[in-house]
Homo-oligomer: 387 residues x 4
């Protein structure tokens, strides 16, 4: 049974809104089963948190009930600040304000509404609480967030390679010297977790066709913002209009702005595309139509230093019939970089039977783990198909 | 590899629209993983058709390639006429025109665009082709439609009881005397299929909370239509407006109407609710808000002949502060009836080793199968919660 | 973590012997993955018991730790008295002594070795403890034994139809008026459980080919016993020899006999078949060879009152070249009867929200459940194939 | 439907014997579900071969039916020469003759019995057929053998990390320049396959407790052979006796010896342990008892150059009460080496869209793949526990 505060948070419109925000944006253009939402993910991560805490307690770590509840609130709300299509539109819609920052603003607002009952949860979420392992469970190299999303995304995409043993990993967790650690005998499961994560990145999250669809969506939003700046009328919901016709920073992201943001979800964007597919701006209309009917750009992996983009823009502007300065909406390059194990942030710590603690990279017998910390980069060109 | 015509149909905007129509309407209010779409289901059913045909051929039934392609087109398009939220809104949005009728209209339009290449598919779909077993594969007691949706809905809801052996059933199919039959040794799998179907109906499709959410959505749409009739302005997309402010019959459901219908999807309805949650009509606003935040009516199973509804309407109108004649949007009864095996339509035929063919109900040793043909009915009362 | 007494019992040779007793006898002749053992099943049932107890406690039922441990011991040992090939050879090897009786004898012996620590467990197992619901968890219409074996047997055979929601059922359990009951909202899962159980019986446990193989094994053992009575030498392990050359009743099944029984497992029988396939008795040799190489008898379902068995024995004795009185080893009928829900024993009780308790058959809206209590019977003839 | 020759081979006693040879030896001492057999694996590998061939044909590679049947026979029989407990007892029972050599001898014998119908299969199996890709499908870095056993062993042990996408890999296969290649877009699945294979090795096949159990079994067999050489009587089956009391080389492994080998299976070894647990030789009795009751040696990972084994043998001989020269049965070291990708044998070849072919290690963007070719070694000490 969940604590009443958890049920009240789940019932709050801020949280119910997550039902309308897809977990994986336009990934369903490649994996059609991937229609799961942030709502589902948040509940799943809560479940894993509720498995992790008793395991830690069984190993002698004191975690009073109020810390458990706060950790549960923290994980439940860890993604509350995500906007439409999760990561994809973070930048074009609200430039310069990250979803983590918005999450904190929304938690503060909820804390106000719930009379301060979220204070400890917010401290843990911000890593300001002295028991830092609770923060690590919410946000770290091996947090319940990742354990949930890898399992969930693998399930809904059908990519078997992403299957991890989240239950076994949870059973191997412990706290040592105030830090979250993993028992030595869980080392193979951790290796498998890192490898699975890498494969999910390249095969799902950074799949070239997914990237193409998401970039086209970004371009459509950027085009809309550009037109908005020029005063062109763009039919859309009030909430989306608010963000298209105004600019924001973290400073003025409060009160009414937060309220408007809480109205936004995938649906606002999708209905805008449906309006705009007949817009008199041919670029906005083209992109909207193309997205609705999954008529995607050509995709090619290219050398990162290839310098023929200008030339290609010329060709595209001729073929499409747009100004050369607008061609960048129709042909562009994208370089992505990803490392499966981010060695610059916190580490996954392995504790041996004699209580010596090592980074997984050193604890493992296998040299290749080091390489997982080396970012891999790829460059793609996406372009309008010239007939 | 799929035949090019299948790929072209999949790429057509009519078919891509199915990406935006959820398979199970508001079922995700109970089973949060149930976000799969008609698009996914249509592709899945196509896959099963492509497994069924070779099995039938291996058993000596002649199925030329053109019949195979036509059957594949037929199954791909069998749900093309579904509107927003699939079954839920069929009636309130377009009164008196079934989704099957619209499917045929859309197929006719596609046939026009594809120069008559769908003619055979349409004949099979309408059961006008002499090899009637091809129609049975698309639409019958044991069609690939059902085999796909039971498997798929069970997967995405997580209701284990719905798991069926669709692959085994497909392997047991044959044709005898022009009819689709099942080999005797598949009898337990068929029984299991019927039982699973019944359980899925009561545990998923007719789950009382799902029914409640869908009824509230229907009431919201009916309220909107009522307001529209009175000339009240209702912000919404052009396509939805077209259907709110006009009435249609199968007679005038062509040309522009069909075109407008092809613009409609879940998104039009959801964005309307987001507009309407602040509408000055309190009933429309209440229902819209309640749906968005999953703040559902009270649900009680009642005797079907209970006659206190008028009394309850009075109480609700007092509490909510609406006219008594409007209380029916806030409190109402629903009686559902369902039989797992519809004995009035076509039958599931079992063929024994000596080629005698019997209805499953007679072929089975087990008396309870007969009872599956008896409809079960339940009555629920849904009502606005009086404080 | 398990209580030390549980670990000690698991390490005891009596329990380790279960590793060498297959759960499903010769079922792997039909479903080749079904090689799981009584050892695995006992551990699985223990796990379910450890899930059931906290659920009952959460609902306010007092279960002190010593009762929990005793229930765990009880379920761990519930099958300890099974002999080689589980059910198949129960009768031919030790006539007139059931595996339940032997289980109690072995528990008594373990209780002696463990200084009386199993006393409460044995009381619960024998249904002599006043909290009878603990016995129901071990042995009843809805015990953890059945929940485990249906799940497990379905997994290892690959028969999807047997999948049940054992975790959901466990969560629905409660105790009312001293009896184990199921919450009303679990009713569909119980129905599904009953149906799955019926299907598993007919599709796995009583599959005609499995029955054939097991009957041939029984016939081989009976032939061996017959030869043993005549003083014919039968090479085999000492433990098997002890049971072939002597007869037992529950009265003299103690001391050395129990010790010898604890030596017996599948392996004794299998190695005997390997010896006997070259035995000079042609019937024993034939049956042994046939079993080793899965060269099974012909199987036909027949009317139960068919009276041509004598005639068939004559034909077989001519063809095989054996005495007419020995033909019953080579051709015989078997009538099986099974009811999915044994209404004569304890019932599955459903408790409604207003605390009224009903048998599932009455609580369910669906008439066919009653039929699950009606035994179905089938008769098969198995016979040596005449060239 | 399978070709009749395949069904006849499956029915042959040589093949039915595989039912009695466990796929993973004593791995069920760690993963109790791992009771699957070589029989099941051979059928599974056959199924994958029957999926691979049509895929290759669809891509334009000519594979006449007789080559398909021969490849199917080859994979069906690829493990036919395995003795009891598969790999574990290969050496102690028949020193100096590998299971591959025995497989060929048994295939030759079957070829004789089936009038030469296996000739092409044997050529392919021995890599003497000019279409070498057929051999690669049976035995190579990416053969259907590995694809089946990884999937199967992962399923039966429950080790999720071993899950691979065998069906996707099969769909990516092609032939280029006479060699088996994988399409570029399958590269992540291949990487995942290699990683899964490595993890399965360390977490299952080379699990220290599995190694311990298997080494104890080897020691028991070696002890038995030593006693046999001295003329000590060892009760056991005739087939096992034949191999304990005689020595063989590939030269004299024909006729009667092959016939006796075909009688051997797990059961002979297990029944011998049951006899020997009361043998008057205390070492043989100890090892037999310990194996039957899973009372395993102490296991420690040690430095490979540790040189205190002599000292430890002294302690153990004192404690156990055996001669110092016999202590090596009770305490010993084992060094294992394994590389996930054996770069010295054939390679996994990736073909790009422009038909350039590269080793996976070069084709992959990820440096760590090279490391998979570097063998990892570990040394364990197993020892009798001194009280």
């Amino acid at each position: 049974m969940h604590h009443p505060i958890l049920l009240e948070i789940i019932d709050h419109p801020f949280f119910q809104r997550l039902r309308r925000i897809s977990q994986l944006g336009l990934t369903n253009y490649v994996y059609p089963g991937a229609n799961h939402t942030r709502f589902h993910h948040a509940l799943g991560a809560l479940r894993l948190m509720k498995m992790a805490i008793p395991t830690l307690r069984d190993k002698g770590n004191q975690i009073p009930e109020e810390e458990e509840i706060a950790s549960c609130i923290g994980i439940l709300l860890h993604d509350i600040g995500h906007g439409p299509y999760s990561h994809a539109l973070e930048n074009p819609i609200i430039k310069g304000v990250s979803h983590e920052e918005i999450s904190i603003l929304m938690m503060d607002e909820l804390n106000r509404q719930f009379d301060g009952k979220l204070t400890l949860a917010i401290e843990i979420f911000k890593d300001q609480y002295h028991k830092r392992f609770l923060h690590s469970l919410i946000s770290g190299q091996l947090d319940v967030d990742r354990l949930d999303y890898l399992t969930r995304d693998s399930f809904f995409t059908g990519v078997n390679e992403g299957v991890i043993s989240h239950d076994r990993i949870l059973k191997m967790l412990d706290v040592y010297d105030g830090k979250l650690v993993v028992e030595q005998k869980g080392i193979y499961s951790i290796e498998s977790f890192l490898i699975s994560r890498r494969l999910m990145y390249w095969q799902v999250y950074l799949h070239k066709t997914v990237l193409c669809a998401e970039m086209m969506l970004i371009k459509a939003m950027e085009r809309a913002k550009e037109l908005a700046k020029k005063g062109v009328e763009l039919p859309c919901t009030d909430a989306l209009r608010y963000f298209l016709y105004n600019d924001f920073s973290i400073m003025n992201f409060t009160g009414n702005t937060l309220e408007m943001f809480a109205q936004l979800d995938d649906n606002d964007v999708l209905s805008a595309l449906k309006y705009w597919k007949n817009h008199r701006d041919p670029i906005l209309a083209y992109l909207s139509n193309a997205l609705l009917n999954r008529n995607l750009f050509l995709i090619r992996q290219i050398e990162s230093n290839r310098n023929d983009l200008k030339l290609q823009e010329q060709k595209v502007s001729n073929s499409f019939g747009c100004k050369i300065e607008d061609a960048s909406f129709l042909v562009f390059d994208l370089t992505i970089r990803h490392a499966a194990y981010d060695i610059q942030h916190d580490k996954i710590l392995i504790i041996s039977k004699d209580n010596s603690v090592k980074d997984i990279v050193e604890a493992s017998d296998f040299t290749y783990l080091k390489d997982l910390g080396v970012p891999v980069s790829k460059t793609y060109r996406f372009e309008y198909q010239i007939n």
